[in-house]
């Protein structure tokens, strides 16, 4: 319940606890924050203090005492700047305040799909909006069948449970008769999921077993290799900043940290003992150079491999050049990856002589490029060759501690209980399938533009390895092509593969109707025919769990902080309104009200025996104590290391498969994801490396990481973040451009100065950016993170906002793996001739923009707001 912020009550403020995190999956709550409100307004947002209503000893704090030092959780949540600044997102000038319809969309006449992304919008009533939406749904269903409706509902968004933003319509559409689901492929884990699962199993996402690894590192590791890991960026939106504190502590107790990444990322900038710059998406060659050195010197754990692995001889034959006549020496690797051969040798030597853990932040760009399966598997192979699972030798993650409620994903000390709110969740879960009609998200443009496509696997984000050998097609048998799109929390264009193709797909005449629901007018919303206003979570009642912090787990009911802005409703309420119009309200809601759903969330949270509903409401939150005996949980792959027969992996052989049994059986001739992992320079899917013919024309490799100042596409309108120098670069025209990092040597060669507006381009389109000239990047490559707010000059061709994903590869990871390849691709860059652009596209440059919040509503509203 709301309580006075201070004991004196003099401030007149009330404090509410809210989960201000941005994954959007019910198990993945975090970043619990205290929101102080007064007179119907948010006064401030601040870290939540665990000891507000509990004593420290009630929480049974865990403590790591090792090497003469002690590390404990903080007594407050370590929230990121996005959570602190969220007031600006709530009150953003980009908030959609009422339903809107595209001015040249007439459901009874001309629909003008070709104008999507250009036409402006005008205000309409909720009645009119719901009328058009439900009559279009019924019309489409009658004409083509229900699978003509594509539901896109998987983007990252605010974490909500009973007011879920991730697909509140899924259950409704099942009641309605079916639909086609845009199935989000495992975008966070591409290389691990499509590659490493064939090496070491590790369902469902293919990353190594994590249990108790933070403790294992503290006790046993001598060397940490942060490979494409930026724990000072990526975990922020998910779990906050304990990884930062830990990293400082690891240094303090003498654990060496090496960072392998093309850019001096934000973690390397403050934690690295050594930075090894590597050319984007060439890590596979570097791993091979290391393996060569180990095979040559015999400095790997042969005995371990004899009992724990299969197919080592095949791999060795490839590495030593017996298979293709090319020895994968450090010199060979150096020519590809740009790391001096002597450094590769020194690293191989140090890795083999020290207890080494590889640390990943989900892998980032390193496992999200073309052929990402290869660097992912090769990293696992390196770990295997040094005795994977022995103390201090694992693959540790700096994010998603406790992913999908799996005990083996708990890298942090185990809590007494993990609250879980899945039963009360009204959205769509990554586990859920939608047979027979679904399209991998990466194939949505292809499916629509080409009318048909086929692929392997991806029936859900958590589908097991065997599903990768199941063949699917679009349209599925007996199902329709897509003619209508319903999208919620959309950010396809700026986050996925080939955003410009998506723009073309949504303008295709087959798409007769598209509607969006979202709190902010941004990204794919600009393509919609009707836009419905959604409120932010601070305008809703809900219930939340905080499980990712690594400190203490929390369960708390969430109370509305302010009244909904404009005519907005929650995503769930919108689904209920549509259900009502379709005559399905009772079926959809099951007769439960929102307060009942919230209480149901508590009852099914697994914490109902630890705290009563009354006490939970009285205190406002439940802080879960640490489990006794957490220190004794076996770390990472330790059980497998000790006894591979008793604790086999989930691979077909139960062992580490240097030659993957499943790939050998199903795709023996796949050159892009061969049974034995390789360096794949190019293939039928991609030509995105230096030395290919394409690189003559587009000579620069791009690295694109998670953005530091937004969570994917979220928070792009927060003025307090945009004024940070690494967030946006203000051009001479006053527009805040998305920064592209260039090394001073390259900037000079190309006549580009810090602050210039530049064009990044390839045959897939052009993106404008602001030049940020820095020593934080190796020469001859460019860095630009994804997620910038799309602001088309020519939709599908030229973007001013800096949405680099509009020009990333349209093809997937490889032929038989439908992941997205969004980093490690070729472009060229030049100083933009702005006068020429303005002359060619005067209307685009006449669009108003907010000087500090970026493109917003004004540019899109008919006749101004």
């Amino acid at each position: 319940m709301a309580e006075d912020r201070t004991t004196s009550g003099a401030s007149g403020e009330k404090t509410l606890i809210r989960d201000i995190s941005f994954c959007g999956v019910p198990e993945n709550g975090s970043n619990a924050s205290m929101v102080d409100v007064k007179d119907g307004k948010i006064v401030r947002i601040r870290p939540m203090h665990y000891d507000w209503k509990y004593k420290k000893e009630d929480l049974n704090p865990w403590k790591m005492e090792v090497r003469g030092s002690t590390f404990e959780p903080s007594m407050k949540t370590l929230i990121p700047p996005y959570s602190l600044a969220y007031k600006k997102r709530v009150y953003s000038p980009a908030r959609i305040r009422y339903p809107m319809m595209r001015v040249d969309f007439d459901p009874d006449g001309e629909r003008n799909p070709q104008n999507r992304g250009v036409s402006k919008f005008k205000r309409i009533s909720w009645d009119k909006a719901l009328d058009v939406i439900t009559s279009e749904m019924n019309r489409i269903k009658e004409k083509y069948g229900p699978t003509a409706l594509l539901y896109q509902c998987d983007q990252h968004g605010e974490n909500k449970v009973v007011q879920a933003c991730h697909g509140a319509g899924r259950k409704l559409l099942r009641e309605w008769g079916g639909f086609t689901l845009q199935m989000r492929q495992p975008d966070s884990w591409e290389g691990w999921w499509w590659g490493s699962k064939h090496f070491w199993g590790c369902e469902p996402v293919g990353q190594g077993q994590q249990s108790n690894l933070l403790w294992d590192i503290a006790k046993n590791a001598e060397l940490l290799l942060f490979w494409g890991c930026d724990q000072e960026t990526t975990p922020w939106g998910w779990q906050g900043q304990l990884p930062s504190r830990l990293s400082y502590w690891w240094s303090e107790i003498g654990i060496k940290q090496i960072y392998v990444c093309p850019d001096l990322n934000y973690a390397a900038a403050v934690h690295a003992d050594r930075w090894i710059p590597v050319l984007p998406n060439t890590d596979a060659a570097m791993y091979l150079g290391i393996c060569y050195q180990w095979f040559k010197d015999g400095t790997y754990d042969k005995e371990y491999l004899a009992t724990h692995a299969v197919g080592v001889d095949k791999f060795e034959a490839y590495v030593m050049g017996e298979e293709d006549g090319v020895k994968k020496t450090p010199e060979w690797a150096s020519a590809i990856c740009g790391v001096p051969s002597r450094t590769i040798k020194a690293l191989a030597k140090e890795w083999a002589s020290k207890r080494t853990t590889v640390v990943i932040g989900n892998g980032g760009p390193g496992i999200r490029g073309p052929y990402a399966t290869e660097p992912a598997r090769l990293q696992c192979i390196c770990l295997a060759m040094q005795g994977l699972g022995k103390p201090g030798a694992n693959q540790a993650k700096m994010i998603e501690w406790g992913l999908f409620d799996k005990p083996d994903q708990y890298a942090q000390p185990m809590p007494l209980r993990v609250p879980n709110l899945r039963s009360a969740y009204t959205g769509g879960h990554p586990d859920e399938t939608n047979h027979p009609s679904f399209l991998p998200k990466t194939f949505v443009p292809k499916g629509i533009l080409e009318g048909e496509c086929d692929w392997w696997g991806c029936e859900s984000e958590t589908a097991d390895r065997a599903n990768q050998f199941v063949h699917y097609k679009y349209p599925a048998d007996g199902c329709s092509k897509i003619h209508m799109v319903w999208t919620d929390s959309p950010s396809w264009i700026t986050c996925w593969n080939g955003g410009n193709d998506y723009v073309r797909a949504m303008r295709h005449p087959d798409i007769e109707f598209m509607f969006a629901q979202h709190p902010w007018l941004e990204n794919d919303c600009l393509m919609a025919d009707i836009i419905l206003p959604v409120n932010t979570k601070l305008e809703e009642d809900d219930i939340a769990g905080d499980i990712f912090s690594g400190q203490y787990n929390l369960l708390y009911p969430e109370h509305k902080c302010i009244e909904p802005i404009g005519e907005s409703y929650s995503d769930y309420e919108i689904a209920v309104m549509i259900a009502e119009r379709l005559g399905l309200k009772e079926e959809y809601t099951g007769g439960k009200t929102i307060p009942e759903l919230i209480k149901y969330g508590y009852e099914t949270s697994r914490c109902d025996d630890l705290i009563s509903w009354e006490e939970l409401n009285e205190k406002g939150y439940y802080a879960v104590p640490t489990a006794d005996g957490w220190e004794d949980v076996p770390a990472g792959f330790y059980n497998f290391y000790k006894d591979p027969e008793k604790y086999p992996l989930t691979t077909p052989t139960g062992k580490l498969e240097f030659e993957a049994t499943g790939l050998l059986e199903n795709f023996p001739d796949d050159l892009e994801r061969p049974p034995v992992p390789k360096w794949v320079a190019q293939g039928i899917s991609h030509e995105e490396t230096i030395g290919t013919k394409r690189s003559d024309k587009y000579p620069l490799l791009v690295i694109s990481n998670h953005p530091r100042w937004s969570v994917h596409s979220q928070h792009e309108d927060i003025t307090w973040l945009r004024e940070i120098e690494t967030c946006k670069v203000t051009g001479p025209d006053g527009y805040q451009y998305h920064p592209v990092w260039l090394h001073p040597s390259m900037a000079e060669q190309r006549g580009i100065r810090h602050g210039d507006i530049v064009s990044i381009f390839n045959e897939r389109g052009t993106v404008l950016a602001g030049a940020y000239v820095t020593e934080r990047i190796m020469p001859d490559i460019v860095y630009i993170d994804h997620g910038a707010k799309w602001d088309p000059i020519v939709p599908g061709e030229i973007d001013r906002g800096g949405a680099i994903n509009t020009i990333v590869p349209r093809n997937t990871t490889s032929k038989n793996a439908v992941g997205h390849a969004v980093s490690g691709f070729l472009v060229d860059i030049e100083k933009t001739d702005m006068e020429e652009l303005k002359r060619k596209y005067p209307e685009a440059f006449e669009k108003p923009f907010h000087p500090c919040a970026g493109p917003g509503l004004e540019a899109c509203i008919w006749g101004g707001e």
Partner: protein, 276 residues
Amino acid sequence: MMGKVLVIDLDICNGCYNCQVACKDEHVGNDWSPIAKPQPDTGQFWNKITDMVRGQVPKVKVTYLHSICQHCDEAPCIPACNVNAIYKRDDGAVIIDPARCRGNQLCLSACPYEDVIYFNDSLNIAQKCTFCAHLLDDGWTEPRCVDACPTGAFRFGDDSDPEIKELIAKAEPLKPGLDVKPRVYHIGLPKPFIAGAVFEPDVDECTEAARVTAQKVGNGRVYEATTDSYGDFWLRDVEPGEYTILVEKTGYLPQKMGPVDARKDINVGDIAVWKA
């Protein structure tokens, strides 16, 4: 006088900008009169961070510098104000009274620090950090920036507190030459490094355990380091200036280079050595 102090430890500042953002969250759009009127939404920072990128590829580090009112006990801004709008509280905080300020801007030129006092054109007043005195008066133990700091880089407390005293002992004032008695202390203020790597081109190996000596041109001051298994050496916290570099290893020909300019952080590059 006794009172509150702020200690900023740059060695554990991860540059998350929480302090800068929390300051905005507290002061933009909120009127905390009589302590402070609202801060403009953008462009002014009562607690400003600057990214200092140090060195050259691949010997690069980032240190995050902080500009904030130092709440000096002998604050030059107080006597400089000709309407007596600036005062010192019993807890040490220096406050510009927004009701008394007439916008004469004399404090801006009197302040010996950069990016501390801002002039708010629309309100016609000078503004700066208040240590969140309105919150301290309401029972808070620390300002917003300190509450928001995830790593403990910002610490706030009484200068009589033993823990704070211990921190102060490790800290230094931002501008040691000034006699203004600031109440903000800094740990880890950046001083230049000289870094590089040593290698043997003949065998294409990094050279471990080479002794690297940097000698300052002029006063002859010497800094030494030994190369690690990557051949890397880091001479940290050197006195700014020009240096000659000497690389030595038993059985190898000594190599000299320089002078190199270490007025700022410098990566002198990869230095080749040959067997004698």
